[in-house]
Amino acid sequence: MIMARLLETEKLTIHFGGLAAVNEVDFTIDQGETVGLIGPNGSGKTTFFNLLTGIYKPTGGEIRYCGKDLVGLPTFKIAKQGVARTFQNNRLFLNLSVLDNVLIGMHPQQDSNWFDAIFRRSYVEREIEQGVEKGLELLSQFSEGLLTNCYQRAGDLPQADRRKVEICRALASNPKLLLLDEPSAGMSPAETEELMEDIRKVRQKVGEIGIIIIEHDMAVIRKVADRVIVLNYGRKIAEGTFHEISDNELVLEAYLGREEKDAQA
């Protein structure tokens, strides 16, 4: 299988006032690749995701996705082209059921409008039926428990299940690029283990999908990521396999601070 370039940024930059939260970052990801995005708190990882998804407009640089320019496109159009994401402090639709959450994920593929809803009932019902079928299948792949509780209010789920639903919701749109923002945050080691298993399942299911994953848990990064990119103060300071990164001095410095400084303190 030939793996094509999925997404590429060139000198991507955003300033908030005087602060460059993301500063001239060059980034690439190919189809079928899993890229880890790491860096200390406040290094601009989530901002990078917000730039890719169009929530923030970059002040400079380019984003090319499947050969098309994404800069300036509204968020929903970017999502429609197959960029799906999860959120750091997960943003499920809390008052809707688990299944409804996943159904909303399918929004980009479905096409019924208000006219269909009112006057072409059979079309809408078929759409819902297919959606429900697909949604239940997705949920069942992640957890039997979610399948049986698919009518539960999403807000009543425990944290680990919420992450799963969020990933299901993102996958429901058949994305080409999946952005995972700290999926293991607030999880126990066992739950994290399960999460890594889930990510592997995703990989098996859709081989050509590209995954960018922000993580603090290095165990996850080591197991999941083909390649790692390190951000610090908005700049890319290192890039390579996990082993290359873990020996990199700049990275150690970013995470642990400079030795002289430590000595002074």
Partner: protein
């Protein structure tokens, strides 16, 4: 098996008939003391229904099992209402008004309930519909039926206009735009000479159907029903239609998308939802409902003035949606009916009407923000 089904059907119809008779009896009560006694009885029933789980499950099970029969029985009973109230047109009038407000509340529910856009301009679309069709009828002799469509569409067009600012604004700011819009329409209606200014438009002709004017008493099965009955049946159809539309929209991709926007706008955008468009859509559909209700109102009463479309009307409709239960189609209708009928039953306290509306909203939001009938999870039929 068959006798058991018939038995259950009889029980179901008996329960419905019981409530229907109660309702009719309540409507025919005028003394404040008796009205209060009735209300206490209703509240007692409600509490019992809530606490006595076995009865509740049995009843809801019964209704779910025979949905069609339950609906048919309900419709049949409502259709007999003008016959029961034959001698008191005033009661039929209340029912017509309740229906009009039910349409307004159903419309607003798309925004307030489904999408969490607080629109305080319901009165504006109501007024635009009413004035458009009234002016067409008075000056150009356009028929009511065409006016209904024109009124609704024109209101919808204004809804679109009102929806445009929501490309840039949301929350408070959007609500401010709707308030300002409502006030602008009110001021304009009050000052334009071609809308009759504060005097409004008198002598709006009643609709007619197959040569039967709605101003004439209605003869059905040898009964002479007061002229309000014409409007009762018209509004019955319109509420029925609105209900179907609202229900269908709720159970579709559109309704689900609105809910997503209500829950989390950013997450919705990240899942490919064009938030602006769906909000504008909610504005347009709401306004269409408002325009239709306004058209019926103007031809029914025969006289409109800006006072009928003041800010307070918008707040009343908001109250109905909140009381009934946001995003619950049936709850919203019940909210509208309650808040139309109860003030009429407490005419002695007419002066306190608005005050009580205000108090209802504040207390409901504090103690039961989900309303009398909270929204329910969508349940999809399981594949067998």
């Amino acid at each position: 098996m068959l006798p058991r089904t018939i038995g259950r059907a009889v029980i179901l119809l008996a329960v419905e008939a019981f409530f229907f008779i109660l309702f009719a009896a309540f409507m025919k009560t005028y003394e404040t003391g008796k009205v209060i006694a009735f209300l206490l009885f209703f509240i007692g029933l409600g509490v019992m229904f809530k606490e006595w789980e076995k009865a509740r499950l049995a009843l809801t099970g019964l209704f779910k099992e025979m949905k069609i029969l339950a609906g048919a029985g309900f419709v049949a009973m409502l259709l007999t209402l003008p016959f029961i109230f034959q001698s008191s047109p005033y009661l039929i009038h209340i029912c017509v008004m309740a229906g009009l407000f039910a349409i307004l509340a159903l419309g607003l529910n798309f925004q307030l309930g489904s999408t969490n856009v607080v629109n305080f301009a319901t009165a504006a679309s109501y007024g635009i519909g009413a004035y458009a069709s009234a002016l067409l009828a008075v000056h150009f002799h356009i028929s009511f039926w065409l006016g209904l469509l024109v009124g609704g569409s024109l209101a919808s067009l204004f809804g679109l206009l009102l929806g445009i600012p929501c490309m840039k604004t949301k929350d408070y700011y959007l609500s401010l735009v709707t308030i300002a819009f409502g006030l602008i329409i009110y001021i304009l209606l009050n000052n334009f000479s071609w809308t009759g200014g504060p005097n409004g438009i008198p002598n709006i002709p009643p609709p007619s159907l197959f040569g039967h004017s709605f101003k004439e008493p209605l003869s059905l099965f040898g009964y002479q029903l007061p002229f309000q009955s014409n409007y009762y049946y018209l509004i019955f159809l319109l509420v029925g239609g609105s209900l179907v539309v609202a229900h269908r929209l709720h159970h579709s991709r559109v309704g689900l998308t609105w809910n997503a926007i209500r829950e989390d706008e950013i997450a919705a955008r990240c899942h490919g939802i064009d938030v602006t468009w769906y909000k504008i859509l909610a504005f347009c559909i709401d306004a269409f409902f408002g325009g239709v209700a306004g058209t019926v109102y103007s031809h029914y009463i025969g006289f409109i003035s800006p006072e009928n479309f003041a800010f307070i009307v918008s707040v009343v409709v908001v109250t109905m949606v909140i009381l009934g239960g946001m995003d619950n189609v049936f709850g919203v209708i019940i909210g509208a009916i309650l808040l139309t009928i109860l003030p009429e039953k407490f005419r002695a306290f007419e002066d306190f009407r608005v005050l009580i509306y205000g108090l209802i909203v504040v207390t409901m939001l504090m103690f039961r923000p989900q309303g009398l009938f909270p929204q329910k999870m969508r349940i999809y039929k399981k594949e067998s």
